[in-house]
Symmetry: D2
Subunit: 347 residues, 4 copies
């Protein structure tokens, strides 16, 4: 049984508390937040749980095995390092840190102390992403041609980070997990429609040495919510609509074939074939629960999490490169691979 | 009553013939195509219509007032110029020509001879685009922030032009009509997944001096068909889903408001407001019919078409700039305005 | 090559003319309509086709092999009988006749003269219905539990027939083809919201001796168009959404399983299993074209059409029974089987 | 501050506990369930809340003001009466009781003791139903023609009650609230596909003296989930799709108009008009929270709940009549009005 403390009860913290409260292998040992009003909510919902405005209370409690940090990203490094130095396992919200430099220091510290460091890229633990990884790995899609994601909605403007850190970060982690390949370069343009705020809209293109192209459209100022990914392969293609209550993943037996048929040449077209569509059943367990169980298991058995520090670091590197490109109006920025894939590649 | 000849009975020609056959102000005087098999289809469908494999037969017929050219773009300039020099009004398929140089020559020739030159940017004549123009012009949307279009589907690969000329061209014309402003620069990346073929996937970003940003996602290799445009304004926002049988246009009374509420500052968010959604009734007349009637009326009354040569030219300039940017992996390419808006601005 | 005349160029006639004009085995020999204005449209679209306001002109033309009757149902019997007595093959619009008595007479006349009689239940020739028949016949669905159809939209109120004859008639023919079993009884309620007009809304339930229950919801006064059928089987279930551009048919690997698990008993529920969904590729040839080719082939090879007079008769019997039930506020009305399935059963 | 006990922590009880835990005017004083395993879940989620397998412990606690009963319907009368006799306000799950006789006794007991009796017809407290009531009351829809509801999905078969009590009951309460009129008669057919279980599929038609017709299609064995209501009025029409994340309610400015236009008479059609569609913003507060606050307010201020015993009774009467009709294969069963509308009519 793992005892867990949570620092930060703002937007995401309540989800962590709710999930760990129902994880059989974990017990919530305490919740810290600077704001006493937030702690009152904890008290009302979980009368037995200890609360404090001093996160140090949790660090100093020797009965606590692990701490989850769900605070603004600007505090991730300092708090994460403090957790590790208190010799506790660390669950860090995404993005891992503000800079890749900070991410590397956390990775080193965790390794030195033999502590588990998980970065909460929740999407990786969804039935949908796990199924897509399985389909790509099996070769069913053939060669991957492109990945095209649209992630737009109204609201939840953030003060300290741009829409890239908030939304594109999901695609960065999914791409990393699905492709097992770091992009060679990224080009991003974005704009903020309100002076003094971070970019609320961005378009990103990622170039891979294997020829794959990935495109990401993120926007906090859209009238409708869209969460749609298209993946094109030489044999089959996938749509992933995260707003579908079921059948989120659809696999299309469609593609292109070339022809010397003079009639088609006259009509200036290549042939295309279209077959069946298939929507595989997905595991519908809440991803955060899967991830919580995984964290507990990694701690108990000394395993490396699926979303470990090195994945978190690669995502931060991508954010850095994309942000640099965006500041230079879309100039293509190269990415230096971290060489840390550790055999976890799925494709 | 206008007598019209049609050159080219391939992919689009049949639509022109069908529409002009039912336009009350027009009579089809002949159809030319290099392929006798295509002309047999004309004969079966329209037994009374004259057909020929020699387009010169139509040019030389003094009873013919106007000629529509629906052939591959590489022949537009030569055929269009021949039509004008035969002193006939000209209907040209989009894109107008392969180069802006050619487009300018056609415009000059038509002006010199006082002939009507219409470029068939059909979308401008749809109830949906006309309604969006009305909403923008009236100020209902407030300041326009962005235009975001996704136009993807499987198939109809073309041999001679890229997906930009085939699909993005629609957005170029719609943007020109809606905004009445030529973009200052364009950045485009694209890729072809099959050696020796044009780009079948492209992502374009257009930058406007007014601060508007436009983004266009076009793809011939997608498993599903999407035709969706989002337009964000300071007061209201629009979605335009061309695949909806009705309610193609939806107007959302949604937006962002800033706050000094300390609770919201704590949560790092600006406020947002959401109101009603409204789907105005649209004119459902087939756009090509509207455009056909408009062409006849322009000929009879000496009017300038909504989609005249200058609009066609600006679209070709955009294709040129976008293609140049695509060839340089997304480098931002500036566009020199043609200064020919002639008071047709709608916004 | 079959020469065909068409009587009636109102709502559906134009579709017949368009299709037969492009059927390779058929030539249109003439079109008759009482209204000269309608014939002008024919002349404009098909300049070479003979038109007449006297249908007798077509009956008396010895070169004509077959005649399609697309007039109001009240004239079907008289015109159909005249066609047969002129020794021509007969294509009759649905519903076949006003009364089952009339339908029997037409069947007898056609048999006596060895003429082909097809009733235009177009839906049977769609890729979707053909695929559903194949799935049911193969046993993939297991035992059929129910058929549930919703067919609602705004408009096309008819003066002479109720919404049952206009819309439920589609389900009557589809059910006949899919199940190969005539219902034992029908219960229907309906209402007209405008005095002096036929019922514009009706709910029908069909009871089968095999235990299958079928339900049909038809409505001319609905704000949205719906064309959705659910078919429940013991092994799999189908949805058929005719408004989907592709993937009209979806097959769900879903069902119910019973359990003695005390936990489930406590929760008062039976178990249910949910597996993959699968959307088979459908033949997308226009159904009317398939049916036209089929008619030509039946004439040339002396075959019995899939939608012959006996199917047409059973549909008329169902309309009669349903109308009687509706007039008696839903009293269950028994149906006497026609015993004419002739081995065409698909399930 | 009201102290509340909850009896029953099965399917719905957890929702009650969660909501009352966050209602500012209420405190949860205890939870009773026969199953100790269920109470363990309560303990884990709400460590401070008292639990017991003896509901009498709650009845005997003088500090408790009100008790919510969320147990199988067969126990509602006995438990509800015990609560009232313990002089506590009563929150009863729907359907209120097994028989209308029982419902009347509970109403009498509550009235005699001046206690609040609320029946948990949650739908009445949704933003969608409240908005529809407002639109109907204002006359915007004109005369109501019909109400057509489809409520189908897979699963949650119940052992003790049919799909009518489980799903159609929602429409019974919504109809009561929207129309303020009890139907004059009901006709229902249903079937159970598994021996020994209640009906899992039913089709119901309700006839109103005002001419309104209501139809309800409920099914536990459908491959997809549908929650769609159409309401037709003489001026406007509504669709209510409860699965839409936003824009659940859409108001269509559509209808029928009659004509003497000879062309239309020829075409056997009445005219129809189609205008804009409008989706009003809805209050998105969770309905159970609204209802909880309403219950607290009724207790504190001696008000009658919107969903009081008389509404609960009318719903039970409808279930009784529909079940009788279903057992007689659809025979139309008359309903004797309860004459207890008490001026709460909204239309």
């Amino acid at each position: 049984m793992i005892k867990i403390g949570i620092i930060g009860y703002g937007y995401w913290g309540p989800n962590l508390v709710r999930n760990f409260a129902e994880t059989s292998g974990a017990i919530i040992a305490g919740v810290a937040d600077l704001n006493p009003k937030r702690l009152e909510i904890v008290q009302k919902r979980y009368p037995g749980v200890r609360t404090t405005t001093q996160f140090q209370d949790l660090l100093g409690d020797p009965s606590i095995d692990a701490i989850a940090v769900a605070t603004p990203v600007s505090t991730h490094f300092e708090l994460g390092m403090a957790v590790l130095k208190a010799d506790k396992h660390l669950w860090l919200e995404k993005p891992m840190t503000e800079t890749s430099e900070q991410a590397r220091k956390l990775i080193d510290e965790a390794e030195k102390r033999n502590l588990v460091l998980i970065v909460d890229h929740t999407f990786i633990y969804t039935g949908a992403v796990l199924k897509m990884a399985e389909l790509i790995k099996s070769g069913d899609l053939g060669n991957i041609y492109y990945y095209d994601s649209t992630r737009v909605n109204l609201g939840l403007f953030q003060r300290d980070v741009s829409v890239i850190s908030d939304l594109a970060v999901h695609d960065f982690s999914i791409l990393d997990y699905l492709l097992g390949e770091q992009p060679a370069a990224v080009s991003a343009v974005g704009t903020n429609h309100f002076p003094g705020t971070p970019e609320n809209l961005a378009y990103l293109t990622l170039f891979y040495d294997s020829g794959i192209i990935a495109h990401i459209n993120v926007n906090w100022l859209a009238p409708v919510k869209v969460r749609q990914i298209l993946i094109g392969g030489s044999k089959k293609m996938i749509t992933y609509d995260d707003l579908e209550p079921s059948e989120k993943i659809r696999v299309y037996d469609k593609g292109i074939s070339f022809t010397d048929d003079p009639q088609q040449i006259y009509e200036m077209r290549v042939g295309y074939r279209t077959g069946d569509m298939w929507a595989p059943r997905l595991d519908s367990t809440e991803a955060l629960r899967v991830e919580g169980d995984h964290f507990v298991e990694c701690i108990e058995n000394g395993k490396t999490p699926l979303t470990d520090g090195s994945l978190g670091l690669r995502v931060v590197e991508l954010i850095e490169a994309a942000t640099r490109s965006m500041n230079e109006r879309g100039r293509s920025v190269e990415i230096k691979g971290t060489q840390m894939y550790q055999g976890r590649k799925v494709a």
